[in-house]
């Protein structure tokens, strides 16, 4: 094993849960999302990404959606309108799957 191949141990880090309640500032959101500034602006205009309470911040859950949009853009050559449409449908599917999960939990029988 060469020097470069030896695993590097790092100290323990606490992960942050991405949800509706925690927020991230605009610049960090933009850098982490993988979206270009104009694409982010367009997705906000289309209403599929919303800024959180404080101006210029987003919820960390929105970061999950923004990254999804960037991946879809790369892999399917989508423009902003295409990303917005895909995100809207995927969010609807997420909500339906969550509802389905909740109903399945109430059915008798094994999990």
């Amino acid at each position: 094993m060469t020097e470069a191949m030896r695993p590097v141990m790092t100290t323990e880090t606490v992960l942050l849960i991405l949800d509706d309640e925690s927020t991230v500032a605009f610049d960090e959101f933009l850098a982490a999302s993988g979206l270009a500034r104009d694409e982010l602006a367009a997705l906000v205009e289309f209403g599929v990404l919303e800024t959180a309470g404080a101006p210029g911040t987003f919820s960390t859950r929105a970061l999950v959606h923004a990254r999804r949009a960037a991946r879809l853009r790369d892999d399917f050559e989508l423009n902003a309108a295409g990303m917005a449409l895909a995100l809207a449908y995927l969010e609807r599917i997420d909500a339906l799957e969550q509802r389905l999960r909740e109903l399945e939990c109430q059915l008798l029988g094994p999990a």
Binding site: M5, V8, L15, L18, A32, G34, A70, R73, A86, C105
Partner: protein, 318 residues
């Protein structure tokens, strides 16, 4: 270096046209894209398809790949003599390389870690800057892990740029703590714990997806738990107190007289902990279970009950 058959991955012949390669890629991307696919192992398959396409869509990379020769997938091989010179490949050693890395920065292009897809460089006023690769990994946790929080060791290996400009695969183990309050399907993040940036670019981020192992008793929806609670017909009819297991010990719950199957009894705050404060709820879903083996005496009592009862559940059927 291990050989990968990119043509087989895309399901095209070795002499396929660029158009056919693109068509096949699109079809497979649609099928396996992890954001839209429900196929098993979609993510893994998508990565393979993407890697194959990245090389075969580019005429120069494809020619270089073809010149490597043909091997069995997974077979160890070395590029033929002179290959590096012919294709202006400037790295020193092939030993630490994955075939994908070989083509990733082929032809002297700027290094871009695999997975750092479509990152557009920053303003780059001071020269070349590339944000590091994001890592995205899945951790399989138990219900108990979610209640207490859990420490997870992640083995990561991604190409990183060394100060002298070479690219190496650097394995590293990152220990992370999943705080209590996380639940199934949730994503977590640590900024700056992804791959190192190149030039003056910042490091990427680390993302963790939570996948919950099924629990023998509880089903999970968000932070709520569901427990199937079997009761006897007489417990359901007459009402009773029964013990149920919760995450923090057994508690007694009242089954009301006249309870029906599928009814839910809610135990507030007995679900999974939420991130900031509070807990989800535990729902006991009543199941009325009939005995399959009866003693003579039990049978007699049922017969008598049937004789004297005026209850008709099928009255509305006419």
């Amino acid at each position: 270096m291990k050989y990968k058959d990119y043509y087989a991955t895309l399901g095209v012949a070795r002499d396929a046209s660029a158009d056919d390669i693109k068509k096949s890629y699109r079809k497979l991307a649609r099928k396996y894209h992890p954001d839209v696919s429900k196929e098993k192992d979609a993510e893994e398959k998508f990565k393979e398809v993407q890697e194959a396409y990245e090389t075969l869509k580019d005429a120069e990379k494809r020619a270089a790949y073809d010149q490597l020769g043909r091997y069995q997938p997974g077979e160890d091989f070395r590029p033929p003599p002179g290959w590096e010179r012919q294709f202006r490949f400037e790295q020193g050693s092939f030993d630490d390389f994955d075939l994908a890395d070989l083509f990733e920065h082929f032809g002297g292009g700027p290094f871009q870690g695999r997975g750092a897809r479509g990152r557009r460089g920053g303003p780059g006023a001071g020269g070349f800057a590339m944000r590091g690769q994001d890592y995205e990994v899945t951790a399989h946790l138990t219900l108990e892990d979610l209640c207490r929080g859990a420490e997870v060791s992640l083995d990561l290996a991604a190409p990183e740029m060394t100060p002298d400009g070479a690219v190496r695969r650097v394995p590293k183990t990152v220990r992370v703590r999943v705080p209590k309050g996380a639940t199934d399907g949730q994503r977590l993040r640590v900024p700056g714990k992804g791959g190192s940036g190149a030039g003056s670019g910042p490091a990427g981020d680390l993302y963790l997806n939570i996948a919950l192992h099924p629990h023998p008793l509880y089903k999970v929806s968000g932070h709520d738990l569901y427990l199937e609670l079997p009761v006897t017909p007489w417990e359901a009819v007459l009402g009773s107190e029964v013990e149920v297991p919760t995450l923090d010990g057994r508690v007694k719950v009242s089954v009301r007289p006249g309870s029906r199957p599928g009814q839910k009894l809610r135990l507030a705050g007995k679900g999974l902990p939420k991130p900031r404060e509070g807990h989800g709820d535990l729902y006991c879903v009543l199941q009325i279970v009939t005995p399959s083996v009866l003693s003579e005496r039990e049978k007699q009592l049922y017969v008598e009950l049937g004789r004297i009862s005026g209850f008709n559940p099928r009255g509305h059927l006419g």
